[in-house]
Each structure stands twice: as structure tokens, then as C-alpha cells.
């Protein structure tokens, strides 16, 4: 108890030094948590873009389609597959006929992926229907010759809503198949590459273009909130259990994105280590000064019966109190900052092009992850204790007789 009292009072003996220490820890923690929150927000947006724009959480397709998306790769009996999937409640499903082909305007042409969708079902899985910036979404009449294209593609083709374009593909018979479609809407995605690549038409129109009867390329599935991805994928795999089908999660479809996340997890620890080393030197330096100023005091205490290990404990108590104050400051600042930008978003319009490359919009919403908070908290405690280790050992090893005489 008396050591607590001495530790606490010593902290406020030099308020300016304590303020510097507490601020160093607080700012260090803010720097680390702020950086991680921004990066997490960035990665989350990339993941959400992937899930929300194409394929949902899980994609069921014909075996080999994902690696070689040719027109002949198709689900032969989509009705059977869909009725099996119906057995799992809470899955939103959308069939897709996915075809690689060309889009031609009166001026130019471009290579695209034509997604034949059921507009109503698709809107339950992806957000294309909500991403329209001009015109309207596809009507539920799946066979209507209507098309929705990305804003960037429309600019490239120099077309407007209401103009006609021609889609051309190689059909199931390896014959050139084409059809004229009227542009009814333009959508905007976080990535201009996505806008240039994907166009949307009705499912029946796409089947007709490909020479399919009832076949489709894949079924995208959106899982309910609170899902465990790996468990759900396994459950769907065992439910369908067909060798002609391939069931993959968004992670399987985007190994680079998964790698980025894993690399980020590793890099955030490295960032934390660098920041914490800087803090460690500040703390170690301050505590060495503290010890130098209090050598005589330690001598008096040891002469009066305080064991050397209790001198160490007292210094650790001081470090602990300073750490708690610094961590509180860091967390409060982080909560204020992330609380604000987490809602309002951090507008990075000046970096729009760079962000678009990553499939991220111009506004990034930072988010705090429990993992990062844990790393921050454990890291800061470890750093403070390691920083104080040497000064504390040094203080406890002074010869009492020399310490008392020290001026």
C-alpha cells in the first residue's frame, strides 16, 4: 500500500515529465490504432466491393468454369441445384449466365463480360440495382433487349442511356451470335475497371444469345448476417455433393485479396513494433532520469527495510499507472477520431484513381478491430514493462550505502 502511495505521488512529482510520457504513449497508440483502422476500413471496402458487386459470398458454378469461363462450361440442370439450395433457409440466390464477348457502339468496341441476370433475384445478392446513376434497372422481363452498362464503359463507347449497342459472343455451337440491346441504365462502381468490364442483360436474353435452353453459368449466394463463411461453404458442398459442380467462397475467387489481408495482418504487427520501439526509448530514457534523481530515496527506503524487489515493483507500479493513463488517452483520442470518421468517412477524392484500382470508393470508413486493439494494448503494456526493466533492475541493485550518500 505504501509503495502504491509513493509510486502515485512520484508520478506527480514532475507533472511535465509525466505529461510527456502519457502523451507519448497516447499518441503512439493513436498512431497505431488510427493506421490500422484506416487500413481495415480500406480492406473491408475491398472485400465488400468483391462480395456486393459480383458473386456474393458463395458461387456455385460448373466444374472448371472459374478457371476457364467458356460458354460450354455450364450448369446443366439449374432447377435441380436451386431446389437443393432451397433446403437451406436464409440463402439469397441469383442465377447468372456469364459470357465473355464484345460490345459495339456506333463508334467503337470493347471486350466485356456479359452477365445475364434475373433482375429481381440479383438485387438480393449484389448491389448493382442500387448503383445506378442514370436511367433505370432491368425489368423483370428477362428476355427484353435491354442492357445496363458501367459509367466508364459508356464513356469509352461514347454512348448514352437510350442508345443501342450490339453484343457479340461465340455461342455454344462456336457460331458468332449477336443481339442489339438498348441501354436503359448506367451504374457506378468503386472501380472503373469493373465498370468497363461488366454489363448486365436479362437472363433469358443471355441464354438465347449463348444458345442455352435452361442452362446457366453459376448461382451466386448471399449468406445471412453472422455467418461463418467456411462452415457455410462446407454445408453447401455437402448439400449439393455433385462432381460437376464447383462451390467456392469469395476468398477462393480472390486469392490476391486474401493474401493482401494476411499480409496486412503481418504488417500491422511490424508497424506496431516500430511505433512501440520509438515509445520504448522515450520511456526508458525518462525512467533512467527518474532513477538518477531518486537514487538517494531508494537508498533510504532500502536502509529502512524495503527489499530490492519491492523497489522494482514500485517502479513497475509507476510505469503501470503511466501506461494506463497513456492508454486511456490513446483510446479516447482514437474513439473520437474513428468515431467521427467511421460515420462521416474519410474523403480521399484526390486519390480517387488510385483507390479505384483497388476497388475502393473515394470515401474510406475506418474501423477498429478487436485484434488491433488487443495488439495495441498488449504491445503497449509489454513495451512499457520492457522499457522499465533495465532502469528498475538498476535501481534495485544500488549499494545502499552508496545510494544514501548520492547527491
Amino acid at each position: 500500500m505504501i509503495l502504491w502511495k509513493i509510486a502515485w505521488r512520484n508520478i506527480w512529482r514532475n507533472p511535465r515529465r509525466t505529461a510527456v510520457l502519457v502523451t507519448s504513449i497516447g499518441i503512439g497508440l493513436l498512431g497505431y490504432l488510427g493506421t490500422s483502422a484506416f487500413s481495415r476500413g480500406f480492406l473491408t471496402q475491398m472485400v465488400e466491393s468483391t462480395i456486393n458487386l459480383s458473386g456474393g459470398h458463395v458461387l456455385v458454378s460448373a466444374k472448371g468454369f472459374l478457371n476457364n469461363p467458356q460458354v460450354r462450361m455450364r450448369i446443366q440442370e439449374p432447377g435441380v441445384v436451386e431446389s437443393l439450395l432451397q433446403q437451406t433457409p436464409g440463402l439469397a440466390r441469383a442465377p447468372i449466365v456469364s459470357l465473355d464477348g464484345m460490345i459495339n457502339s456506333s463508334e467503337t468496341a470493347a471486350g466485356v463480360t456479359i452477365n445475364g441476370i434475373d433482375p429481381d433475384k440479383e438485387s438480393r445478392v449484389t448491389v448493382i440495382s442500387e448503383a445506378l446513376i442514370e436511367g433505370r434497372y432491368l425489368h423483370n422481363g428477362n428476355s427484353a433487349p435491354e442492357i445496363v452498362v458501367g459509367e466508364a464503359l459508356a464513356q469509352k463507347l461514347n454512348v448514352l442511356v437510350g442508345n443501342k449497342v450490339v453484343l457479340m459472343i461465340s455461342d455454344i455451337q462456336n457460331e458468332i451470335s449477336s443481339g442489339a440491346f438498348r441501354i436503359v441504365g448506367l451504374y457506378r462502381a468503386p472501380s472503373s475497371d469493373f465498370e468497363k468490364r461488366y454489363v448486365y442483360i436479362g437472363k433469358t436474353a443471355a441464354q438465347k444469345l449463348a444458345g442455352y435452353e435452361r442452362e446457366i453459368s453459376s448461382i451466386s449466394i448471399r449468406l445471412q448476417e453472422g455467418y461463418v463463411l467456411e462452415e457455410q461453404v462446407e454445408s453447401i458442398r455437402s448439400l449439393l455433393d455433385r462432381p460437376d459442380l464447383e462451390i467456392v467462397s469469395w476468398k477462393d475467387r480472390n486469392p490476391l485479396l486474401v493474401l493482401s489481408i494476411e499480409m496486412y495482418d503481418a504488417s500491422i504487427v511490424i508497424i506496431a513494433i516500430i511505433m512501440f520501439i520509438a515509445i520504448a526509448f522515450t520511456i526508458a530514457n525518462s525512467f533512467l532520469m527518474v532513477i538518477h534523481e531518486r537514487i538517494q530515496e531508494f537508498g533510504i527506503m532500502m536502509a529502512n527495510g524495503v527489499m530490492p524487489k519491492n523497489i522494482r515493483r514500485m517502479l513497475y507500479l509507476e510505469a503501470l499507472i503511466i501506461t494506463i493513463l497513456g492508454a486511456l488517452l490513446g483510446f479516447v483520442l482514437t474513439l473520437l477520431l474513428i468515431g467521427y470518421y467511421g460515420n462521416a468517412g474519410l474523403d480521399l477524392a484526390s486519390m480517387a484513381q488510385g483507390l479505384a484500382m483497388f476497388g475502393v470508393g473515394t470515401v474510406v470508413y475506418p474501423e477498429i478491430w478487436a485484434f488491433d486493439v488487443t495488439v495495441g494494448l498488449v504491445g503497449i503494456i509489454a513495451v512499457v514493462f520492457l522499457s522499465v526493466l533495465y532502469p528498475a533492475i538498476k535501481a534495485s541493485r544500488f549499494e545502499v550505502v552508496d545510494a544514501i550518500r548520492f547527491v
Binding site: I2, A303, N304, V306
Partner: protein, 229 residues
């Protein structure tokens, strides 16, 4: 019964230039329970070194030290700290109070370490403060707010409240004016007579030597005279 028994104590230390200095040479002596003794001698004669060795603050190069029935030279740092806590009281020339604690907290410091209950602590501290003439309004003041004499009274109270077997006082009057020093010495003498607490001073103050019942004279690290009054 002897509370201190030194046998052939020699102390050699290295100075700043790492040159060996012989501080004590073959000092043997005993101090009986309840004595009011003083180690006297000129500066550099080894008084403080001997006092530090008896207090377990320093170790001799050769020889054995028995204090309150315990042999100190074989003890480790923790054991010595525990021994000092349970058996000794110190009064230093520079008062050496803990600056962040109040007068009362400084006085009860050793009792807190010993785990004495709060009520008993307060009662013992108040009793010592009353005996040493420390006014109650000084109890909550920190050392920097007290005069030299007041600080030394608090230091004596700290040494006494834990009821040690031996109080070691290193030049306790050196930083005090003669009047304050004289009053404090009288109070310590009274405590020695009343409670039978053994006092051992290191001093070259004649006031201390006059009051001491035994005078041990050191010269160049050797015990040259042992005078009882």
C-alpha cells in the same frame, strides 16, 4: 548481553581512481544491550563505515558481524533488508526522509512495511511525536515544509516507532544548530533510559560525546580507545 559483536573487522574499498583504501583495520568490539555509545574520531577515521557495517548497509572485507544475535556477513540483500526492518532504526545526518510522504507517513513507514494495523500505527506514531515534541499540525507536512530540527525529530520518530533493538545514528546533530541538537540528544538519552533502546552514534560533536555512556575512539580505521563513563 551484547547486541553488537564485531570480530576482526577490516574494510578495504576502492576510491574513484580504483586505488584501494583501508577504511577499517582489525576492529573488534562488543556493545551491550541498552548502551548509549558513540563512535568518535576525526574525519576519515572510519566511524561511518563501521556504523554502516553494523547496520548491514555495507559488508566488511574480513571479519564477522553479529547484531541482535544474527550474523550479517552471510546474509543476502533481501535478508539484510528484512533484518534492518525488524531489528534496526537509522537516523542520518541529512535526515533522509522520503520527500513524497508526509511527516506522519514517514514516521509510520517501517510499521507499514511490517504490516502493523492502522490503529496501532497511528497510536504509536502519535505517542512518539508527543515524546519528541512534534506538534500535531506538522504531521501532514512534507519534509520540504519542515525545518531541519523538525525533520530530524521525524527521522528519530521513524527509527523509534518500530521498537528496534538498536538505533544507529550517523552524525545526527551535524546539520542542526547547537540548541536543537542538544534538545534532540536529551530526548534520545531519555528514550534510552526510559525504554532501554540501545543507541550507537557516529560523531565528532562534543555534545554527543558528553552524553554518551561509552566512547569508542577510532583513528585511521583502528579502534584506539574504549572509554566508559
Amino acid at each position: 548481553m551484547n547486541i553488537v559483536a564485531l570480530n576482526s573487522i577490516t574494510k578495504v574499498y576502492q576510491d574513484k581512481n580504483r586505488i584501494p583504501v583501508q577504511a577499517l583495520t582489525d576492529v573488534s568490539l562488543t556493545i551491550g544491550d541498552g548502551e548509549f555509545a558513540a563512535l568518535a574520531g576525526p574525519s576519515g577515521s572510519g566511524k561511518t563505515t563501521l556504523l554502516n557495517i553494523i547496520g548491514g548497509l555495507d559488508k566488511p572485507t574480513h571479519g564477522t558481524v553479529h547484531v541482535a544475535g544474527r550474523e550479517l556477513t552471510s546474509m543476502n540483500r533481501d535478508e539484510l533488508a528484512e533484518f534492518r526492518l525488524q531489528s534496526l532504526g537509522f537516523v542520518f545526518q541529512a535526515f533522509n526522509l522520503i520527500p513524497v510522504l508526509t511527516a506522519e507517513e514517514n514516521a509510520e513507514f517501517m510499521l507499514l512495511l511490517q504490516g502493523v494495523p492502522a490503529e496501532e500505527r497511528h497510536a504509536r506514531v502519535q505517542r512518539e511525536f508527543a515524546e519528541l515534541g512534534i506538534e500535531s499540525d506538522l504531521m501532514q507536512r512534507r519534509p520540504s515544509e519542515l525545518s531541519g530540527g523538525q525533520q530530524q525529530r521525524v527521522a528519530i520518530a521513524r527509527a523509534l516507532v518500530s521498537h528496534p533493538k538498536l538505533i544507529l545514528a550517523d552524525e545526527p546533530t551535524a546539520n542542526l544548530d547547537s540548541k536543537t541538537g542538544s534538545v534532540l540528544l536529551d530526548q534520545m538519552k531519555k528514550l534510552n533510559e526510559k525504554k532501554g533502546v540501545t543507541f550507537l552514534f557516529s560523531t565528532h560533536d562534543t555534545m554527543v560525546m558528553e552524553r554518551a555512556s561509552r566512547l569508542l575512539l577510532l583513528h585511521d580505521g583502528e579502534l584506539v580507545e574504549d572509554k566508559r563513563s
